[in-house]
């Protein structure tokens, strides 16, 4: 690479290059690492207290943002009611289990036929250790957590055009990339190419570090042998007694590796959002929503479809339909309103706020995303391929295959995430029926795991633009849109404040919903205190 070009490459050019080379999952990871998706600001429990006497709050939406608001405002002494469109709490925090029935927009109904205990998370599925906000509520509500495996060195990276379409072990590609680059740099050092930039003394240290980080041999070469096999594994592993001696493996040639483009799939776990340790609730992400629902109990009114939001000098009146009684009209009123309805839906609901907030609500498109859960008759990825949790990345439209981070060695059936799709391919998968999505995921996945053909049992597919309660996956802010509308979206308008991942700098993550909610209710509480007692 031309040094001058590389130094002047803009962030945008880099993203474009990554986007062209790899799948959209890579792009998202790149975005995360470049600060487009920022880290959480959660520091400590909010501990609001001292609500004005008799003050009330109406919360719209029993997703994570809404339930955090309800939980904390009730604790502060407010009278709280929550209106929820679905028959369950959680919103996008959701797991589909055996026996669940899901009808998406268009009337396509799926009956989940997974074995008992098996599930798929159609929405969020992993929690980075630094998402301390959502983790705080897991602890507080007694939701048991277990490790989510992000990086599995024995999973695959796969390109349909490289190595004859044969998936490569992540461990091989990662070790070989690091090894070859280290060797290259070691040669440059030894050939005095770096003399102007690195002192003699530092060159010695650099060479030592390259040998260590790249698994080079004593001649600073990355070649088949013990050093490299300790990273990439052996062709025949060491054994005991009179077993055959270990046979080292042979690295992939550097040129082949670069041509394959597979290097674009090995850095996911290095990104801040994906670094060890990650967590998942035992029994599915939806356990968090269920725990909140248990805690809030009868505060939540289900089947409530908001059709009008009207504020006046003394409070907010929300008109809603009980979806079990089509055409019915009910109203709820409170002094204040925390509105967590996704912008995709809120933009269609009459609400008398100022032009600035209204424009912001109307401005944000929603991203497409699709997940497909596949049940197989046995956990062949463990039994045949020794893959326990983690993710295989591919340039096929399914983007990745993720193996369950729980239930290892279970002799029964197993469910894996057979597709997690963003961007254009997600739009296309959305346009299919659920059955077509499952069949396509099985078809593509069988290029990586031929066992699919005989072991596939049944599947479930969720396309977020067909979700009746969100009409999309998450608010797709661009930098330009944020500059123009974000502050207006988040400002309190009279007696209404918005919250949710769409009102955060951590889009699509539950932590965005938590931090957005805490920030919103903190400001609302201050305003309520300043306004004084019950109006």
């Amino acid at each position: 690479m031309n040094g001058k070009n590389s130094s002047t490459m803009t962030r945008r050019q880099l993203l474009r290059m990554i986007g062209v080379t790899a799948g959209s999952a890579m792009m998202y990871q790149a975005m995360s690492s470049l600060g487009f998706a920022a880290e959480s600001r959660f520091k400590k429990p909010i501990g609001l207290q001292g609500a004005p006497k008799g003050a009330s709050v109406l919360v719209l939406g029993a997703g994570i943002a809404g339930m955090v608001a309800a939980y904390e405002l009730r604790a502060a002494g407010y009278k709280v009611q929550v209106l929820e469109y679905n028959a369950r709490a959680g919103g996008r925090n959701w797991s589909i289990h055996s026996g669940d029935v899901y009808t998406e927009l268009g009337g396509f109904t799926q009956h989940c036929q997974f074995d008992p205990g098996l599930y798929i998370n159609p929405g969020p599925w992993r929690i980075p250790y630094h998402h301390q906000g959502i983790l705080h509520y897991c602890t507080r509500l007694g939701v048991p957590l277990e490790s989510f495996v992000q990086v599995n060195n024995n999973a695959y990276v796969h390109s349909s055009t490289a190595f004859g379409g044969k998936p490569q072990r992540y461990r091989h590609v990662r070790a070989d990339y690091a090894g070859h680059v280290a060797e290259l740099l070691a040669k440059a050092t030894q050939n005095h190419k770096l003399d102007e930039r690195v002192t003699k003394e530092d060159q010695e240290k650099l060479l030592m570090s390259l040998r260590m980080t790249g698994a080079l041999d004593k001649h600073y070469a990355y070649v088949g042998g013990r050093d490299s096999s300790e990273r990439r594994g052996y062709d025949i592993d060491p054994g005991g007694g009179l077993d055959q001696k270990a046979v080292p493996s042979k690295p992939i040639a550097f040129g082949d590796l670069l041509d394959s483009g597979l290097w674009s799939m090995i850095s996911a776990g290095d990104d801040y959002d994906m670094q060890t340790t990650l967590f998942q609730p035992v029994g599915g992400m939806g356990q968090i929503g269920k725990a909140f629902a248990r805690e809030l109990g009868s505060l939540i009114r289900y089947h409530a479809k908001v059709i009008d939001i009207h504020q006046d000098e003394s409070g907010v009146t929300v008109t809603y339909e009980d979806t079990l009684k089509p055409g019915s009209k009910f109203s709820a009123r409170a002094d204040w309103c925390v509105n967590t309805i996704p912008l995709s839906v809120l933009s269609q609901i009459p609400m008398n706020v100022g032009a600035a907030m209204a424009d912001a609500i109307a401005a944000v498109p929603y991203a497409a995303a699709v997940k497909v859960g596949l049940q197989f008759k046995r956990r062949f990825w463990e039994q045949d391929e020794q893959i326990y949790g983690g993710i295989t990345y591919t340039d096929l439209p399914i983007t990745n295959i993720s193996y369950p981070s729980t239930g290892y060695f279970n002799p029964g059936k197993g469910v894996l995430l057979g597709a997690y799709i963003w961007g254009m391919n997600a739009t296309e998968f959305t346009a299919m029926s659920p059955q077509e999505r499952v069949k396509a995921a099985v078809g593509y996945g069988s290029q990586i795991h031929p066992q699919y053909a005989t072991e596939f049992d049944n599947g479930v597919a969720v396309a977020w633009h067909r979700s009746p309660f969100t009409l999309g996956c998450f608010g797709l802010w661009s930098e330009a849109l944020r500059q123009k509308h974000y502050d207006d979206l988040c400002q309190i308008d009279g007696r209404i404040v918005l919250a949710g991942e769409h009102a955060s700098y951590i889009p699509a993550w539950q932590e965005g919903a938590v931090t957005s909610s805490l920030n919103a209710i903190g400001r609302l509480h201050q305003k309520a205190l300043a306004t004084g007692a019950h109006a």
């Binding site: 309805i341 498109p365 739009t427 296309e428 029926s433 069949k439 797709l476 661009s478 849109l481």
Partner: protein, 154 residues
Amino acid sequence: MIRTRTPLHACVLVCALLLGAGLPGTARADSAGIYNPATLKAANGEQVYTHICQGCHMPDGKGAEGAGRYPAFVGNPKLASASYMAVTVLYGRHDMPSFMTNLREDEEAKFMRSAELSDAQIAEVINFIRTHFGNHYPDSLSAADVAALHPKAH
């Protein structure tokens, strides 16, 4: 129509699976499989509809309603204005993203944002919608009409 980056056998397999789905009223009208940005350029109006639009507006063009709704193309008076439809596809509306090619916006957002259609494709899919789903509008839209609605045209 074969994906340029996928081995032939893969596409044949997937296409066979799609065709074999046999679900009345839900199957696609063609066997194009899954597009990539390059192969999408060859999609005609009907293919754009069945591969993209029907995700929200549904295979029967009746739209859908949940907590919010997707507009129907059946009996919708707004379809009288082909230009209104073109502006919607070019710039997006509410949660619907823009489908314009080379919309001037962040690369980050653009990559995540579904598909890019040419002016000709936008015109074709609008003409398709306005002559299907019970619609019989006699006038049609051209690629030049769509191009005239670009930001630079003003």
